[in-house]
């Protein structure tokens, strides 16, 4: 009985994990700018990894494979978000813009309005960028 429950559970976890992997992949290809793509990709780093490896864990039973799977899971959950953070940080510092979506959403009005929106967004981005680099400088001075 317990075995069957575990089997069904691992089936569900693996399938849902596969679904999330797919969703993350489609998002990373289709979303409009770098930061949104990164958010889609990090879905595959966290929940999808957790579900797929969790499903395998239920299949493994109590063997040496369980230990290895748990190690893989822990390392991936540690390094995935860290790599995402580091990448987002590097992109922000080098001034990759994130206003592509704003332009689309706000650009429904007249053409001149859209132009204003864009410039405002660029200003806010620039201010974010300077604040980020200031933070970095502060860190470095420490």
């Amino acid at each position: 009985m317990l075995e069957q429950v575990l089997y069904v559970l691992s089936w569900i976890m693996l399938t849902v994990g596969g679904f999330f992997v797919l969703v993350g992949g489609i998002g990373a290809l289709r979303l409009p700018n770098f930061y949104t793509r990164m958010h889609a990709a990090s879905v595959t780093d966290t929940i999808a990894t957790f579900l797929v490896l969790g499903g395998l864990l239920l299949q493994a039973g109590l063997t040496i494979a369980t230990v290895k799977l748990i190690a893989i899971l822990v390392f991936l959950l540690l390094t995935g978000p860290t790599a995402s953070y580091a990448l987002a940080n590097a992109a922000l510092l080098s001034g990759v813009k994130s206003n592509a979506t704003f332009r689309k959403v706000n650009g429904k009005g007249s053409k001149s309005g859209a132009g204003q929106e864009t410039s405002v967004n660029q200003e806010t981005d620039a201010s974010q960028e300077t604040s980020a680099s200031q933070e970095n400088n502060e860190e470095q001075s420490k």
Partner: protein, 327 residues
């Protein structure tokens, strides 16, 4: 099913390879090379070659990217355009492709037990390994004992390659000397708190895993080469986090050079000792009164030699690229 996966991965491999050749920005090419290596390892794995896949994983995932990026920081960002007559190149490539396609007609099917490669010495290795050496991983037995000469040659290839790279990179360019700015000292990533903490956490596990691969090579996939690469990756991680200087203080140049030479020397010495004890060169059976145990001891010793040389060579090459200006 598996064969479909393998063909699919091979197709991706071809697409990536073409993209690498066509990429003009060298950074893009380096990133695509990383993907190429990942695809390659997945392919090896699906074709059931776990030892080769582990080698590709140990080298391709970390060390090559690091060394390529080190090389990239010394050169320009874009590929130099070379004007060559395309006709000659195209005809050579076409001829080679046709020749290779012609050669595949005679090839046996994938996994065919009647294939010549499975009829030659492989059955002998498979049947004699339990009797003569008594370890589960036949690949290690073949590399470490039956074909120990070849492996010795490979170790000296690594040794020579390391010396060659160091010679090339330490050559001074007198014309360039004055124009070169004094580079900012590499401080590593010590101001990025989160990567630093996670990296420090990971570092001991990488080295531990390297040792596991080294000493578990007789039982599972792995061995000296992979272990050396993994441990070198761990130390490179340390260098990335803490900066060149700290890493060089931990593993100085003299230690690296001693490792490169010492590993190869250890391997050779095992062979010389077997000769003194009355056997052939690299015939480990004489190392102990029990020949099977002697074989195992010999394999462990030479694997250690391989691991030490590879680790030292990779570290020396990494530092040579990273500290190019200091030579």
């Amino acid at each position: 099913m598996i064969i479909i996966f393998a063909v699919f991965l091979l197709t991706l491999l071809v697409i990536t390879a073409i993209a690498i050749v066509r990429a003009e920005n060298l950074f893009v090419a380096v990133m695509l090379m990383a993907i190429f290596s990942l695809l390659m390892a997945a392919n090896f794995f699906i074709l059931d070659a776990a030892d080769v896949a582990l080698t590709e994983a140990a080298i391709g995932a970390g060390v090559t990217t690091v060394i390529f990026l080190g090389a990239l920081s010394l050169t320009a960002e874009n590929e130099k355009k070379v004007e060559l007559s395309r006709g000659v190149a195209m005809s050579i490539v076409t001829a080679t492709t046709l020749l290779l396609i012609y050669a595949t007609f005679e090839k046996p099917k994938l996994g065919d037990p009647e294939a010549p490669v499975h009829q030659h010495v492989a059955p002998w290795y498979l049947s004699e390994t339990p009797k003569l050496i008594d370890i589960p991983n036949v690949v290690t037995a073949v590399l470490g004992s039956f074909r120990a000469y070849d492996t010795l040659g490979e170790v000296f290839v690594v040794f020579t390659a390391c010396i060659g790279v160091l010679f090339l990179l330490s050559a001074k360019n007198p014309a360039d000397k004055q124009s070169r700015r004094t580079p900012p000292e590499s401080i590593g990533l010590r101001h990025h708190l989160i990567p630093k903490v996670v990296g420090r956490l990971l570092f001991p596990f990488i080295v531990l895993f390297g040792l596991y691969v080294q000493f578990h090579g007789e039982y599972g996939p792995g061995g000296g080469f992979q272990a050396g690469a993994i441990i070198a990756t761990g130390i490179i991680l340390f260098a990335l986090l803490e900066g060149e200087k700290t890493a060089l203080a931990a593993v100085p140049h003299s230690v690296m050079m001693a490792m490169v030479a010492g590993g190869a020397l250890l391997y050779t010495m095992v062979g010389v000792v077997t000769m003194f004890m009355g056997g052939n060169f690299l015939d480990y059976s004489v190392l102990s009164s029990n020949p099977v145990f002697g074989q195992q001891m010999g394999i462990i010793l030479i694997e250690a030699g391989v691991g030490i040389t590879v680790c030292g060579a990779l570290l020396a090459i990494f530092h040579a690229f990273a500290a190019r200006e200091n030579y």
